[in-house]
């Protein structure tokens, strides 16, 4: 599992949706040990953050922390996952979009929506961070960022302010 082939990663990604939690857990753990090669499984790993099994979720999170930016073909699915009801899924979808920088510009509207009051605080904060990483291509989110910059949540306010600078406002 040290230098997993694309076929192996694909197979492990498929196993993340197996009915048996032990199979899903083992697949997530092996992806976690796959290093940057696991980037090819970025979207299935994000979805696995919503797994009912704690072991699957923890391994998926650990894998996502280390895999860097996702492949471009994962972006559309990640943008869709930004609105996921499970905050951990949304958080990691947003994080991977932020890592993609300007390439995630198509996700600006979805990200800006997560700045709305009532959003899970960690999700809203990460959305502000991701918009800052997208930079000038996220200018359409300036209004939502200005509002977030006056939030009573000091971290959200700070990240929104930083994002405003990054988008050129």
């Amino acid at each position: 599992m040290t230098d997993s082939s694309p076929a192996e990663i694909h197979d492990l990604a498929r196993q993340l949706t197996a009915a048996d939690p032990a199979v899903r857990r083992a697949a997530a753990e092996r992806l976690c040990r796959s290093g940057p090669a696991a980037a090819a499984a970025a979207l299935p790993l994000v979805r696995a953050c919503g797994d009912a099994d704690e072991g699957v979720r923890e391994q998926a999170v650990a894998a996502l922390e280390e895999l860097g930016a996702p492949p471009s073909e994962a972006l559309a699915g990640l943008i869709e996952a930004v609105a996921a009801a499970d905050p951990l899924v949304a958080y990691w979808a947003i994080t991977l979009l932020g890592r993609s920088g300007e390439a995630a510009a198509a996700g600006v509207t979805a990200l800006a929506r997560q700045l709305a009051p009532g959003t899970d605080p960690a999700v809203a904060q990460r959305a502000a961070w991701a918009l800052g990483r997208i930079g000038s291509a996220a200018r359409a989110a300036a209004g939502a960022l200005r509002e977030a910059a006056s939030s009573s949540d000091p971290r959200l306010a700070r990240l929104a302010q930083e994002a405003l600078s990054a988008v050129g406002e």
Binding site: T2, G55, Q59, L88, P121
Partner: protein
Amino acid sequence: MICCLAVLLPAAAFAQPVVKPWDAVLIASFNIQVFGESKLAKPQVVEVLARVVRKFDIVAIQEVRAKSDDIIPRFVQAVNADGSRYHYLIGPREGRTSSKEQYVFVYDTTRVEVDAASAGVFPDPSDRLHRPPMCARFRTRIMPAQAAFSFWLVNTHTDPDEVPQELAALTDVFLGMQSARPDEDDVILLGDMNAGPPEFKSYQRIPGVGWAVSGATTNTRRTKTYDNLVFARPATSEYLGVWGVLDLQSTFGLPLDNALEVSDHNPVWAAFHPCEIGGPQTIPLASQPTTIR
């Protein structure tokens, strides 16, 4: 001093109690990736982890991830199975999402003692750190108490997506800990920084800052320098200039796959004089790591 540390070197020491030097305290940091039920259920992994801990006087552990509270007690029991007398301090679950981590200090009670009342999480009212560091004050027991080296350990694991911001915040933590007690000037910040010395610009705000690991990789794949021990050299003149990365593959003869089962990080460590040294000394930094086997 390095000669005395050499008593640790024989690989055959695995089956016997580890003999530690009388003239150095060995402090390590180890990110044990997703240390929870799954890892603890693998006896071969626990055995390697226990052998790692027994080589050091204190190990600052990052990434304990478990809903259960008995992971570390069970692990320390495994460490002590050879007659060792380690104990632990564990922090609260930390993290902004539902996925939390805990910091732990595992320490050899025959060699160091901890002021349990001093242990806690550094306050982070502005929420600058994903997992605010756990601090605790230790003192060596190798020397009489009035002469013993005492020090703060600040255990940290940065968020890989906000490294520069978190290193800046950790600099403030370090400076805060330096003035936390008038009778304690030694602060050692250790953990998974997700950054190497070229990215330590913020730390330059710490007068006389130094770090142990330099020019060596610390992850199991041997591609990145993420883990380190950071201290102020004028204050912490007890640093002996001896440090190392305990390479899981070569130390335990593990193929990369098996080493990654243990963790994606190797432990890093540094040696300190067990006596409090009053004034600044000039001890050259070692440019090459020392090997512990």
